[in-house]
Symmetry: D3
Subunit: 294 residues, 6 copies
């Protein structure tokens, strides 16, 4: 009984500690890019959804932008097609696009289901609904790689409408060009463009890495916080490469366009989102504006 | 020039003739079940979407409920599965369900795209979003046929929210049971349940037949209008069979539950929806309430 | 039957053709100046009202500004007075003003009745109601011609209030000066001032001519479209005279003050309004902004 | 100076005394029937309008229903027609109706002008606008007396719309029958029907008499207050005759249908309305419900 | 670091566990009666305020009703008066009432300050503001004990207004009688009356006892949950006495009038409110409706 | 009777005279600083409250800011403390602050009661509620005089919220510093700061003098109206001293920050507020903007 009471008091303390954070972000929009390992593992998936749902319940306005991850390749294989990549970008012919859209919508609705199961209203849409995402064809070093889209415009009305009606919007990164053809969009790009368009307070990337290292091989060079200018300096000086380069470009672009803070979180760590938001322990890497740093 | 003017005057007359109908149904909800041939033929597809979009623009509140038609079978085949049917119902194992959902969502978004292309805001959702459609497992003569759902509840809030925000809702007939498993739903059933839940003024089925015949082999027995009681009489007396039986049951159920009028239209006839609504010529078969007939 | 079907399909096509126009002007304000022959002929009158009512029903926000035409002279005669004119302007002593106001209000309410008969809510007001039109005395070449008013201010609040409440406003061109005396106003001037004050999308004059000619005697010089600058050029170069001069001045003034497009239509042609709005055939003369032309 | 101060203090006292009445009727609707002598005399007219405007300014919601009085006869004479009466009702042929409508609208707009001059927003409408008053032909002892209407329906939406938008509605007693023909309506009947339809707190008749007498020839029989039942008793016992009979019938009908109190006031007495409402002195005759009396 | 992470994960779990409770009571009103020891101890006071503020932040709508406790006696003593009690009720002469009101308002504003300090908007009012609490004189066994009031009416409009505007209302138990004299009110009574008037989901009493015992001397007879009927039975059978009797009467009265659940909590236990609401451990005694028990 | 009627007519005239003023200030905010003699005398107190309540009822939006006057000293004495003053400012140690707050809140609620008694909804708050008044410690010639606050910020949201909900806000001049300590504020300063923050139309000080004199000893130098510049000139030239100096500084500061007009009224004169607002006689001294004077 004593033991019980002690444990119970600990619970109260945790809730009390969360108070200033709940307050600070009340009714603020948080865009969560959800992809990678956090998506493949069922346990992690449940944790992410619980986190986002909790954010909704305590007064935040989260928006999920998700990728399709390994599912797309799996289904491309299932119909006997071979996946092709150019410079790390999937070559997307019409059939591949069709499959990618189907898989992304399937993932989309399974996330909707998980949120609804927790008692929160969700709506799953793609960039086609309400004209959310407009794109044009993206070329990879001048090479046509098919239906891969670069975002040229965002109409966030549908998101504001859904948030006003108290839904948690879940977005598949598909867009339309001016001739109303369907394009696949990089989920990081979509999350970043949406965060800017809705003036999000936070943009959080759930990734497969712990955060940013100055030297990827030296764990001691981990960066837990840097300004947009510092990030641009690192890029300019060639410290950042591979898949991290476009991601970090998205981060600084978001900061430069009114998003208050961007987080690169380790999606493999259970409840990384909650921990980042409700504690001071600094999970992952935070990119902040130059002004805030001063 | 004279010729031109005559033609031009004819146009004015048509618009003027439509006036009382526009007035009568202003801000009324019309649920359109869209499937069958009208879905396979690209030309017909465009016509249906144009019709529904026009209804929206002149002040109606249309809702589209669509099926997946032959696309589902095509994709089931593509992954090397054999389609199985029991009593005309698709046996839906988990993989088939997965494919069905993907295909239905693909169709859903392609309809969204077509509506958006005509300058009208659309949102495509399934019965999962906002907890729209709740189901339980449906048995065929006591036989388990997998993830085929019978509707047990409709939460139309998401539809009212979208209509209020001026979107045209497009719905894929997928639902969740109480354990949040995914089920396929007959599109006719979904349309009927939704029409009842939103108190639709009209429910229109776009089918592959011209309408109802007392004797399917005798064109002269065409029925252009009958009351719910008369329909129930025909069913009781065994005149109605095959795929028409559940459809007609849906029709009378809708009338008995507050829908004002149900139409069985020939989706193969271009613009059948507009013609039914804006002329007195009586395209297809109309089922009306017993009171109206008097 | 075949014949019927063909005819029926034509109807569908007309409705479909109207779609982009309905969309384009949805919820836009259109001010219609209604006078001249279109007012004297009962058949034409019904057509005009049907057209405007249809515009309302499909989502536009029409406002009618009307004149009193020959009715005023008829009633002036009825009480044994002689009508006097100076430079084409009616000399308006107190009794004439009283009669003019009575006749304009009578016309006003008969238009209200016709609109209500078609099932649309209408309110008939004059420039006195809600302080809509403020005027000062107008002199004709320095000559006092009585209670003829020049508009000095427009308070459009009452129009916005009525449009918000879904009424079709019908306006008699009567105004008050700063001492609250009653003045008659030229209906063209009133329509133009109101169109500017409510930022109308369109201003349409129903007149007794087909449109603008460079040389009134040469039918081949018909102008179906010109910019405000071109119109001003024509005026400057002396091509425009008579009653057309003040009308064209009103047209360019409207364009220069935010009205998007002004139409001079032939009110003697049935449904000229619908034809102008729902077809590309170019009835009458359109005056557009210089920017649009480029 | 002392004198001044004393006078000034008196003013304060009057304002303070009015306080409980302002409070009691705050946001309540008061229908004022305005006609008779109060209309012919310019000074009295100004007083009535000032009173009603003050009521509006201190928070009441007044509605004016007016007659046309002697003006109609004057204009009928002006066009060389002879006025005809049957049982005290004007025989109203088409031309007379036309004149009556014109005169009523003229009176209507002159009242609008007077209210606007005092800085309050007014809208003048007739029973045609917004379908306010529906009528059928009234017969006088079975005799057709032309376009004299009996009210069969009231649609008060336009009044609620105008009150919501803070206008003072002024109503000319003209109505439409089901074939949209124009009819003249007795102004008392119109005021009574409107008071019932808007659930007015008060209905005040400005008349040419001081109030109700049991014996019209004996000033000592003046009745300053009676219940609806008592009024019905007087009628039943034959004490009431002439023009007072239909008026008193209107009074009791109003009370029986939810109007809280009806006043018969002497419109020839300046500011009778204010005096009735802001003092306890009991100007005129008040008809109250049986319940209130108890 | 490992240790840290473990601790951090525990935090996440606590937050996740709270999720279903946050959801269940979202936007529900909770009335908290705050008094006794929880009020005297500064540490406990901070804890209570933190708890209530957290409830507000996560979406509940708490209302605090507080007493004045020992402060009133302290100030009565300070001015050299002797406190008198009859049957446990303070004899409240005019000067004592004045002091009591001053002290209660001081306590009220200090609670407001503490809530504001935590970043939540608060408004402190008494039962005088907006006519919240109407009372009549309360007699103790027929004896006049001065300005001690019994609640006869509650006008909760001011509470709904403040909740709508997102304030946390804090209420001092002072009321007015029909002659607008000031009365002291028992805080338990005030909390109960308010909970009923606003249809609270929960009413929680912070007391100086652990909860209800059947036999106050036998700790093993602790009751953690009982229905209103059972509570009434205990009262009827004489098990309940002393200060607990009126408290329990308030509890059952609240349940009988629409409050869903009443809690008797030990205010001396830090965060008892949070623990009751966010865990299943059953702090204190819960009184529930008979229906719920079944 | 004649006499009565004459008197009655006088009443009507007074009400009619008030009309343009009611109109002019309709829905405008008036901040009334209430203190001094007007507060001590029960009769004057009733008059002030009646005046403010009447202003509310006829459509103004009054806000009362009050002092505590002699009550604070009385209660300080009651607990056996000696009042100390430095440069006319009360030295406010912690206990004095406690008493001052209690007394101000008592006064506050008694004003609330008086307003409610007249049938108008009131809410009494202090500068703590909703974070209304933020202060820092004020020094008197560098000397620490305890909890006397200088206003550093005003958050008027709570006032707008209460006005929107139709309450008459009554404010006690207490504020919080950034560490949430309680401070006493000069009521004139509070009234001035609030008037500026809510963009009041008028700010009226009820004082114990008749108004401003150029030479306080020469009644003939009374100033009934001066501009802000003139007032600043008088201050600069040393004409103004004593308690009038900070008051006049508040007046010009208010005018310079958007308040339209400030009045120094003699609170000892019954209904001075009404007289100032509803007559042209010029009670007291008015400070106007330089622009208005021109």
């Amino acid at each position: 009984m004593e033991k019980d009471m002690e444990q119970v008091m600990k619970k109260a303390e945790v809730l009390i500690e969360a108070l200033p954070y709940i307050q600070k972000f009340n009714r603020k929009i948080i865009v969560v890019k959800y992809g990678g390992s956090a998506m493949s593992n069922e346990e992690l998936q449940k944790n992410v959804i619980k986190d986002v749902t909790l954010l909704k319940l305590v007064g935040f306005k989260p928006i999920i932008v998700h990728g399709g991850g390994k599912e797309i390749s799996r289904w491309v294989g299932k119909v006997g097609k071979e996946a092709k990549f150019v410079n790390g970008l999937r070559v997307t012919d019409e059939e591949t696009m069709e499959i990618a859209e189907m898989v992304l919508n399937k993932v989309n609705k399974s996330l909707v289901t998980m949120v609804e199961e927790l008692g929160v209203k969700a709506v799953g849409v793609s960039g086609k609904d309400g004209g959310l995402l407009q794109v044009e064809k993206k070329y990879s070093d001048g090479q046509d790689i098919g239906y891969v889209g670069e975002i040229t415009g965002v109409n966030p009305d549908i998101l504001f409408d859904m948030l006003e009606k108290d839904y948690l919007p879940i977005i598949a990164p598909i867009g339309l060009d001016k001739d109303y053809h369907t394009y696949n969009i990089n989920a990081d790009d979509a999350a970043c463009a949406i965060a800017k368009a809705v003036h999000a307070e936070k943009l959080a990337f759930l990734t497969d890495i712990e955060g940013l290292y100055k030297d990827i091989n030296d764990k001691s060079t981990f960066i837990s916080r840097l300004t947009a200018s510092e990030a641009e300096g690192l890029i300019h000086d060639g410290y950042i490469g591979g898949g991290m380069l476009p991601k970090l470009n998205n981060c600084t672009s978001a900061i430069r366009n009114g998003v208050n803070r961007v987080h690169i979180l380790d999606g493999r760590l259970a409840h990384c989102l909650l921990l980042e938001i409700f504690t001071n322990q600094g999970i992952g890497t935070a990119i902040v504006s130059d002004e805030e740093e001063k």
